[in-house]
């Protein structure tokens, strides 16, 4: 398959994730949609690595996965802290950044 097909798939995945971030209200699902966007970018990086015959893009994809894991741990910690304080699990209701 040509590399362009992979790029089209990555663009689709990224856009679905971006639309999900806008549509959904649950912070858990917003985190999942962020994962979708990062995975779309990962697919493009690996496709470009294949295109150039150079493994630097794969290294970049692995670093992106590390950053995504870090983001997930902090985000889920925030969700658990929100739940403990009996606040609504809803990003529209969480519009004050007070301690």
């Amino acid at each position: 398959m040509n590399i362009g097909w992979y790029l089209v798939v990555s663009a689709l995945i990224f856009s679905i994730g971006a639309g999900g971030v806008l549509i959904r209200r649950n912070p858990l699902v917003i985190l999942l949609c962020l994962e979708l966007m990062l995975n779309g970018a990962n697919l493009a990086l690996v496709a470009f690595a294949r295109m150039w015959g150079n493994e630097d893009g794969q290294i970049f994809a692995l670093i992106v996965m590390v950053v995504a894991a870090a983001e997930v741990t902090v985000g889920l910690g925030l969700v658990v802290a929100i739940y403990r304080r009996r606040l609504p699990i809803d990003v529209d209701g969480l519009n004050e950044l007070q301690g």
Binding site: N2, E35, G53, V67, V74
Partner: protein
């Protein structure tokens, strides 16, 4: 053959992504994302990135998804599908525009390699040996920075999600541990002579309450 595999994996990845956005229950969204990740790993394999594919399945579909499932089971609950009014209409429109814009940007970039099958085959491309040697030579600094980032994220998650005293009034931790001990069993008071054989007054009760009181006045109610 590779075209068939590509279309199967691509349809799986895209349908998994749509499922993440469209399903109401967050638990089903997480399962849909796991399916999406496995399909994406198949695409990585088709692109000869075997180490990235293995890491994707093990780290993402294994560890991160288990974390998600635990948090969804802890928090629970469904929700209304979407936010009100404006974003519900603008979100899909924005996604559609983004697809068109990205396709124009990447396919119309004039890169000759986009319309080819990629570089000629290199033995060992994308194997763990190549990736590992790159991580330890050319990309040593990003590798170490990533480890520091993971450590900081782990500490931050523990600080964020830990149980803070004083914020939840319904959970009082019992601080006094009372362990009754019968008399003449070698307590500290007997050793100090405070309660000897002739002093019946002090040993009026057969049981001595050893009180271990954690000094609660020194503790702050969370950071």
């Amino acid at each position: 053959m590779s075209a068939v595999l590509f279309f199967i994996a691509a349809i799986g990845a895209i349908s998994g992504a749509i499922g993440v956005v469209m399903l109401r229950n967050p638990f089903y969204s997480v399962l849909s994302l796991a399916f999406h990740l496995v399909s994406l790993a198949a695409l990585f394999l088709l692109l000869r990135a075997e180490f990235v594919a293995a890491a994707q399945v093990i780290v993402y579909a294994g560890a991160v998804m288990v974390l998600y499932v635990f948090v969804v089971a802890y928090v629970g609950g469904g929700e209304q599908l979407s936010s009100g009014g404006v974003l519900r209409v603008l979100g899909p429109l924005f996604a559609l525009g983004l697809v068109i814009e990205l396709c124009i940007a990447m396919l119309g970039a004039g890169l000759k390699g986009v319309n080819s099958k990629g570089a000629p085959f290199i033995p060992g491309f994308g194997t763990p040996a190549h990736i590992g040697s790159l991580f330890l030579t050319k990309f040593l600094l990003p590798f170490e920075v990533a480890s520091i980032l993971l450590l900081a994220a782990a500490v931050g998650a523990v600080v964020l999600a830990r149980r803070r005293r004083g914020l939840e009034p319904d959970e009082q931790i019992e601080l006094r541990i009372e362990a009754p001990r019968p008399a003449w069993t070698g307590t500290m008071a007997e050793a100090a002579g405070l309660r000897g054989p002739g002093q019946e007054g002090l040993a009026a009760s057969d049981a001595e309450a050893v009180t271990t009181a954690a000094d609660s006045s020194n503790r702050e109610g969370g950071w």
